[in-house]
């Protein structure tokens, strides 16, 4: 359940009767390599390994385990810190209509998530509806309409020249029709596209969503943190969703996004079908990164 490299590093450590800066150098380098190959952010890995080295060399002797085993424990503890300690719930208040804004880079899986999240809410007894707010991507509204019809989830897709106004009107219509979870699908955009980021800021100011979820592709590499920090600056989003984890991507970058912004990962996407969404579990993720 761990990669060969992790097993070798742990074996080297377990075999150490005493530890010093020299003999833990190589196994710690192996651990650094595993994390980087899992796309964990460079700076996150660097500071994590520095902590592990510092605490390992400064450790007090515990009688029941060898110093080398203690290094392994320290490594796990530091890794757990960046994974977050608890499952952060996506809370759906029962009596108040709740709006959720879905944002992120192009192709990350936002539109698909809107449908999956609606289905999740419905299974929990809520009445979800989706608002189409992407007027740019060819056939974006059509994509939602088709998926909405196939899954019996209402889609409000009338978009006019004034995106902000028509979105607000769609939300009002959804609320009037008794829907209590209203999920807004926005267009994919670059965090460095000022105009497009301003559009989101304006949308947030006008709609005042209860949740803003940053949707990120599980295969993302080192640039993930940059994206997250920029979205945090402009929108102060409330949660992260990591998609496409049904492949063999480790997802270390998405994890780093959470570690650096302090924002919780709420869901993961594990496929293209309606039910392919799961609540995020940090401990399962640890074995994914190291496995």
């Amino acid at each position: 359940e761990f990669t060969e490299k992790i097993n070798i590093a742990f074996k080297k450590l377990r075999g150490l009767a005493t530890i010093n800066e020299k003999n833990i150098n190589e196994p710690l380098r192996d651990l650094k390599r595993v994390l980087l190959e899992a796309d964990v952010n460079y700076k996150v890995v660097k500071s994590l390994m520095e902590q592990v080295q510092k605490k390992s060399l400064g450790q007090e002797v515990i009688r029941s385990i060898t110093p080398g085993q203690q290094v392994i424990k320290i490594f796990y503890d530091e890794l757990k810190k960046i994974l977050g300690n608890s499952t952060s719930e996506f809370i759906m208040r029962p009596n108040n209509p709740m709006t959720v804004m879905i944002v992120g880079l192009q192709g990350s899986g936002k539109t698909t998530l809107c449908v999956k999240l609606s289905h999740y809410a419905r299974k929990k007894g809520r009445k979800p509806s989706i608002i189409a707010a992407d007027p740019y991507r060819p056939a974006a509204a059509k994509q939602l309409e088709i998926m909405g019809k196939a899954t019996n989830i209402p889609v409000f897709s009338r978009i006019t020249e004034d995106l902000i106004l028509s979105t607000k009107e769609n939300i009002e219509d959804a609320k009037k029709s008794g829907y209590d979870i209203i999920i807004m699908d926005t267009a994919g955009r670059l965090h460095i596209d000022e105009e497009m980021m301003d559009e989101l800021v304006e949308l947030k100011q006008e709609v005042v969503p209860d949740e803003i979820l940053l949707v990120t592709d599980g295969m993302t590499g080192q640039d993930a943190v940059k994206t997250a920090v920029e979205f945090q600056k402009k929108l102060d989003f409330t949660g992260i969703v990591i998609t496409k984890l049904d492949g063999d991507a480790k997802g270390g970058a998405a994890l780093s996004m959470s570690a650096v912004t302090g924002k919780p990962i709420k869901f993961i996407g594990i496929g293209e079908k309606l039910g392919d969404i799961e609540v995020f579990h940090p401990d399962r993720f640890a074995s994914r990164i190291l496995g």
């Binding site: 980087l36 190959e37 899986g109 088709i146 295969m219 080192q222 994206t227 063999d248």
Partner: protein, 279 residues
Amino acid sequence: LGKKRKIDEEILENIEQILIEGDIGFSASMSIIENIKEKFRVNKECDSDNLFLFLKEEILKMLENSESFQEEKLGKKPWIILVVGVNGTGKTTTIGKLAYCYKNSDKDVLVAAADTYRAAAVEQLDIWRKRANVDLIGTQQGADPAAVVYDSVKAALSRNVDVLIIDTAGRMHTKVNLMEELKKVKRVIAKIIPDAPHEVLLILDANMGQNAINQAKEFLKATKVTGIVLTKLDGTAKGGVIIPIKLELGLPVKYIGIGEDISDLEIFEPKRFVEALFS
């Protein structure tokens, strides 16, 4: 930078950071740094400009084109291009851009909407092909993609087009049944035109990390990929993972996507890519 200083641990760490943050990956970064240590004796003084020049040259050498992936441009008619890749990388959009490109060089282009799985995939390609002013062979969602591909190759022959570009559904390289579906599509094409498809383009997103290497390996195995299109380079991601892909698999980048408009496609230029890596 630009003054004489020692090649010390700090400068090597700076280089390691640039390479890894550019998604070049641990192995390739380490071997580049080993080459630096060999060429510049550590703790000797050196002009850091020279160091970075050497670094860029090293990477440029890695990206130089290998003979095995050279193919003649539009050597056959119809020239058939199969477009593949995992979900959301920019396949459909890239096809719109490619069709536009060929159309503008006075070629007769046909596109095939063989993504019969995803909602509005055909509608999306239909809008792009209208912008490019080319014809489309498509069908309903849920049809057999192999049937669409068959029809499109037959149509390409009977209409005597120069280029046929085939869009496929995004798929995880780890899903055996979906990769088998892709192999079947390839067989269907070859049954009608034995040496087709003439190009198989793997679309990779510049934001991707090390998983892109696995994708390249699997798609190469299943469909003999001939080139990569690296999309979304208009973002801040460097796309450095194409370096280990080139080193391990010999697979070259043919084009880059630099935006969401129909003209946002460029021929890959290794020198510009390496400059951008260090900017």
